[in-house]
């Protein structure tokens, strides 16, 4: 551009990843939104000469739609832009969450008004059933059916509960919705109350989410001022109000019976179902519990119709799902994609691929209750049922990506550690079983296990799964089972060869200096916290294995690849 003396008229700017790495490098020309793919240095000249100077498109560099072989010039018409659809996140990042006016301007509370004016509770429930919306908290139970069950139970008082006790490691979908669009959850709770005949709503939120709590409080106050919460809402004669209840951050309280007990002031422990909360929940009254993301979808279903919603997604899983992408992935963040998208599209296109160009190994979905999916699952369409049959689960939407440097035994141990910590201790399979399972895993990572232990571990997993009281225990062996199914070779290497192929398990590795590469720069010796590396300047350095604490400092500091993990 500078050579053509165009620097004053055309600006060249670097930008973030377009989420379309497969076709990179990408050049986009504005204002006409022309989108060039697979641009090589040699092509740049042509773009300058043709497009920038003469205003003619360089057709051969345009993106070709793989389905109909048409060239697409305007980036807004391209398929990959449709990979994400924001329904639950529709207002996040667009409106001011502390100003109810902005929510109202974005169709806010219109669904509520429409339900009051045009629908009986039965019709509204039918709309929910027709939409096919399934609970986004993890289990995937159809929300409309849940509402219907609660509506049919006779009682003088019923409750609507919003489960905001998001506890999966690495998950922050619900927090973002509450922080970015609290009114959508409130509106949905009122609709839910109208449908099942409840006049009180409770939001159970963990105290570790102070910003979300603060914004919810503001939202509740504003909604009350506008007459959208409280007595006789919009002149409908229907009363509904919402209260916030704080959780202390126990993972098990995400289970609905434990959550209800916690709200009642009891210990946060689950009880056997049935009775289901819809029959006997908070204070023994019929209670409908839904998760934040489930509620955030509700106003859109009524605004745009069940049919529209059911048109997105797969046969049995409708709509979209919000995922929190984390781990070894370039674009860490929140995404919302239609059900049925593949893991490959999520990780390599939207997520921008694996960090530092490393090799993809696995992705963990469903948190401590889920499992690891591997390369062979990359093209499986994501929905509730497919993930279950692949040995994982949808869960609340955490997605942790792992690369070649992650040891799968250590990953399983990490999740088990979490489960052991969070088990409420009420039933023995979960309390004792998971502890023993953790110890077995710990032994494997220390090279103190044999092949028989692997067999025992599998049996123990079966017992915990079949005999635990609640979902936490029933699903806790999943990370172990799925890593054993998919990465048995790593387990074998640990128990038979006392070797950790990824170089993660400290007791099975040692650091050594490769004589050919060592230049004697002393960087490793200077950074060693226990001074266990000896060697003069420009001389070969040596690590004293008996003192080494395997902190990895020498490995990180060496610029000559002279420190090796063996």
């Amino acid at each position: 551009m500078n050579a053509q003396d165009l620097q004053d008229e055309v600006q060249v700017v670097t930008t973030g990843c377009f989420g379309f790495c497969e076709k990179g490098p990408i050049v986009k020309v504005i204002p006409d939104n022309t989108f060039y793919v697979s641009v090589e240095p040699g092509d740049a000249g042509e773009i300058i000469a043709e497009h920038a100077i003469k205003g003619r498109r360089v057709d051969r560099l345009l993106y070709v739609d793989p389905t109909n072989k048409q060239q697409i010039a305007d980036s807004r018409g391209m398929g990959f832009y449709k990979k994400q659809i924001r329904i639950a996140l529709r207002n996040c990042g667009l409106i001011d969450p502390e100003n109810i006016d902005e929510y109202l301007a974005a169709d806010g509370y219109e669904a509520m008004g429409r339900v009051f004016a045009e629908m009986s509770p039965e019709e509204a429930i039918q709309e929910m059933i027709d939409s096919g919306l399934r609970g986004r908290g993890g289990g995937g139970f159809p929300a409309g059916i849940k509402w219907q069950i609660a509506s049919k139970v006779e009682a003088d008082q019923k409750y609507v509960v919003c489960n905001a006790d998001e506890g999966d490691p690495g998950a922050f979908m619900d927090r973002s919705i509450l922080e970015g669009d609290p009114h959508s959850v409130l509106e949905a709770m009122v609709i839910n109350g109208y449908c099942i005949g409840a006049t009180k709503g409770l939001i159970y939120i963990r105290a570790e989410y102070p910003l979300a709590i603060n914004r919810l409080k503001i939202a509740i106050g504003q909604a009350r001022d506008y007459g959208l919460l409280g007595k006789d809402i919009l002149g409908s004669g229907f009363d509904f109000d919402v209260e916030i209840r704080y959780g202390a951050g126990a993972f098990v309280c995400g289970e609905e019976t434990a959550l209800i007990h916690s709200m009642e002031g009891e210990r946060g422990e689950p009880t056997f179902k049935p009775p289901f909360p819809a029959q006997s929940g908070y204070l023994g009254k019929p209670t409908n519990v839904n998760n934040v993301e489930t509620f955030a979808n509700v106003p859109v279903i009524f605004n745009k119709g069940a049919k529209w919603f059911a048109g997105i997604g797969t046969e049995k899983s409708k709509g979209t799902k919000v995922f929190a992408l984390a781990g070894k992935i370039n674009n860490v963040g929140l995404i919302e994609v239609p059900m049925g998208i593949t893991l490959r599209e999520v990780i390599f296109e939207i997520g921008g691929g694996i960090k530092d160009g490393k090799k993809f190994k696995a992705v963990q979905t469903g948190g401590p209750s889920g499992g690891c999916l591997t390369e062979k699952h990359l093209d499986t369409p994501i929905d509730f049922d497919n993930l279950l049959s692949a040995g994982s689960m949808m869960g609340s939407g955490g997605m942790i990506v792992m690369d070649e440097d992650d040891c799968m035994v250590a990953v399983a141990k990490f999740y088990l550690d979490f489960t052991v910590e969070e088990s409420c201790g009420k039933c023995s399979p979960c309390r004792i079983g998971n502890k023993r399972l953790y110890e077995l895993l710990d032994n494997i990572t220390k090279g103190q296990a044999d092949k028989e232990d692997l067999e025992n571990m599998r049996n123990l997993c079966g017992v915990i799964r079949d005999s635990s009281l609640c979902g936490l225990g029933q699903t806790s062996p999943n990370p172990v089972l799925s890593t054993m199914d998919n990465f048995m070779d790593e387990y074998i290497a640990h128990v038979e060869e006392d070797r950790c192929p990824s170089g993660v398990c400290k007791d099975l590795i040692r650091y050594e200096i490769i004589p050919e590469n060592c230049v004697g720069c002393t960087a490793c010796a200077r950074n060693c916290p226990v001074n266990c590396i000896a060697g003069e300047r420009k001389q070969l350095h040596v690590i004293d294995q008996s003192l080494c604490i395997k902190c990895n400092a020498c490995f990180e500091k060496c610029k000559f690849n002279a420190v090796a993990i063996i």
Partner: protein, 127 residues
Amino acid sequence: MADLKKMKGELQSKIALREKSDKPEGRVQVKVAMATCGIASGAKEVMEYMVDEMDKRNIDAIVTQTGCMGYCYAEPTIEVNLPGHEPLVFGYVDIKKADEIIEKYIRNQELVEGIIPMNYQTIEKNK
């Protein structure tokens, strides 16, 4: 319901005036993503800086907070809406970047590095 519709209509036109005005005298709008992820990365300082500097530099702009835009890897993120232009999202915004955005983009419509392309569709487009 009728009241609600009326209220919505009024508010929409008010916000439309603020956001979508094609008139050159329309105001600049800056949205700062202020969710936990953004604030942890320094969005609060950026927000305060933006509010103060717009005032000091006599730029007629509205700076508001909003929720997480989903680009957590590039926090703090801000969206700048110039009248007559498509909204642009900038990532990795610190005080220095904020200054550059004000001087170059907001004052002179000159693009600066660090634009995050929008990669999702909103539900309105499905209508």
